[in-house]
Amino acid sequence: MNAKKMDHLATGIIYFLVGVVILLLVAILSYILFNGVPDISWKFLTSAAQSFSAGGGIRDQLFNSLYLLLLTIIVSLPIGLGAGIYLAEYSTDNWFTDLIRTSVEVLSSLPSVVVGLFGYLVFVIKLNLGFSILSGAIALTFFNLPLLTRNIEESLRSVPNLQREAGMSLGLSHWKTTTKIVLPAALPGILTGLILSAGRIFGEAAALIYTAGQSAPTVDYTNWNIFSATSFLNPMRPAETLAVHIWKVNTESVTPDAKLISSASSAVLIIVILIFNLGARYLGNKLYKKITATK
């Protein structure tokens, strides 16, 4: 076959593969959305879940998911940044760096249940954090760190060396150069990593069942005292997230409308991820533009 025909054929095959994948993606997303969106209502979003009777909503679960995401990012972003900066800026090619990389990557392939049980026995029981958003956030940090660290490292590395030299040659410390010059320039890449890991946090269930727990005690949304047990801000309270709720509704729930709750929740989850994705990009771009004074 001549090269040009081969080129056409290969191009055709690639378009075919892409087509199949797009079709698949569209199918999955529309399956979830078509099944779920008709059942989403304001009431569904704003009322509490019901254990036995129909008509329960997902107010608490939705809030918990977002709050857990926030806490997880608060816990894991600094560690990821520190580790990413170390790997990109300070590390040299040696066994220690290799060891760190391997450690981080091993984390990424641990089964969720294992991390969940580990979190349960160590954080919930041993460290006495109890079933809490905090325990959940720490457990999720395990999944979050590898992706985040890798992403931060790569984004930092992709900033041209010239920028570092510019900073250093002005007598700035390496640390200042990294945090004030290289890091802002790497922001868009870091953001992508953050968005990807946010997706995983929203979607994770198995690790949370044993750590953040699978019940959502009613909380008071007017209680701003973080230390109060009923405050919605208390990180020490147990919290069922949306993904866990979907899991629970599907496995043990006796509510008559379990199926409806499950599909509507899935749709909500996807929409929230989408909003988060777009929102984070928008804000990130704005921030980037502000820092870099472009436009």
């Binding site: 090269a3 040009k4 081969m6 080129d7 054929l9 191009t11 095959i13 690639i14 593969l17 892409v18 199949v20 994948v21 698949l24 999955i28 997303l29 399956y31 979830i32 560690i79 940044l81 520190g82 580790a83 900066i85 060891l99 760190i100 391997t102 450690s103 990557e105 091993v106 984390l107 990424s108 392939s109 641990l110 089964p111 969720s112 249940v113 294992v114 049980l117 580990f118 160590v122 395990f142 760190l145 660290t149 790569e154 410390s173 390496h174 640390w175 990294t178 945090t179 992508t192 997706g199 929203f202 994770e204 269930a205 198995a206 899991w247 989850l269 996807i270 991820i273 994705n277 777009l278």
Partner: protein, 305 residues
């Protein structure tokens, strides 16, 4: 004058900033190492108990096909043969990777070599979206779509390795794709120019130059995908049938290491053999992911010319 000489020879704010920064970085690295060490120690100590405390023969554990930790076999030894789960885990993982790789590569090539910004601008977020769909949801789509579909075509119950593979295929597709895109984009632009200037077609350039140059990165992507498949539980558990049986075909119910682990762990009592045996499964998983990782490292080293 003297002042400057002195300044040159004394530590300044910048010096301390650097100490501080280094300190923070080492702290973070230290925390990661601590976390990993803890979890490794934790799993290893529990997983080894099956062999040290309950005196199960490691070889039996890896090669016997009967899994019934509560009971004992005719020789009075505990019945913990993990082979069916090991075989199944490997099968679904490999098959899912084999299936997902061409699609992921196709999309990655499309995104990095074909499409103008528009195409990848749409594909990128959609792929990121897929990462966030909870396992359970994938599991239920699997249960309500994939399983009946397989049943319709191959008969039987529809539960089994094939269904598991299909569900995992979709789940690891985003991982492999996005990592592949990264590594294709990392191939320097001048490789493409060099090849095109020699009269090579786009496909020849992609196939013989870009893919070759990106091989270490692509393999890393595939292996990361496999690691994800290996560790996935909730979704697989719903479609694979969860029978601790040696799989006889792609459509017979089987059970992976993770699905067994997830299904049974809540019903066992800490410290007893049934519980320890499950931790041994987790240990196998861990060793496997370690192995996959070292494989990536090895490939990465070899890939560097």
């Amino acid at each position: 004058m003297d002042n400057i000489q002195k300044k040159l020879q004394t530590k300044s704010k910048a010096t301390f900033q650097d100490y501080f920064g280094k300190g923070i970085c080492y702290l973070c690295i230290g925390m990661i190492i601590l976390l990993v060490t803890c979890i490794l120690y934790f799993i290893a100590s529990k997983g080894i108990a099956t062999f040290t405390k309950d005196k199960v023969n490691v070889f039996d554990f890896l090669t016997k096909t009967n899994w019934n930790p509560g009971a004992t076999d005719s020789h009075g030894r505990p019945d913990v043969g993990a082979l069916p789960m090991i075989v199944t885990s490997f099968s679904v993982t490999l098959l899912a990777a084999v299936l997902a790789t061409p699609f992921a590569l196709g999309v990655a090539i499309f995104m990095s070599e074909f499409s103008s910004k528009g195409g990848s601008k749409i594909l990128q977020p959609v792929i990121e979206l897929l990462v966030g769909i909870p396992s359970v949801v994938y599991g239920f789509i699997g249960l309500s779509v994939v399983v009946p579909f397989i049943r319709g075509i191959f008969g039987g119950t529809g539960f089994g390795i094939l269904s598991g593979t299909l569900v995992l295929f979709v789940m690891i597709l985003p991982t492999i794709t996005s990592l592949s895109v990264d590594s294709l984009r990392a191939v320097p632009m001048y490789y493409r120019e060099a090849s095109l200037a020699l009269g090579a077609t786009r496909w020849q350039t992609i196939y013989k130059v870009i893919l070759r140059a990106a091989i270490p990165g692509l393999l890393t992507a595939i292996i990361f995908g496999m690691a994800r498949a290996f560790g996935e539980a909730l979704a697989v558990q719903m479609v694979i049938g969860n029978a601790a049986l040696m799989p006889t075909s792609l459509v017979s119910p089987a059970s992976t290491l993770t699905s067994k682990l997830t299904t049974d762990i809540g019903n066992t009592v800490m410290g007893t053999l049934p519980n320890n045996a499950l931790w041994s499964l987790a240990l196998i998983l861990l060793l496997m992911s370690l192995f996959l990782n070292l494989l990536v490292k090895f490939i990465g080293k070899r890939g560097r010319f």
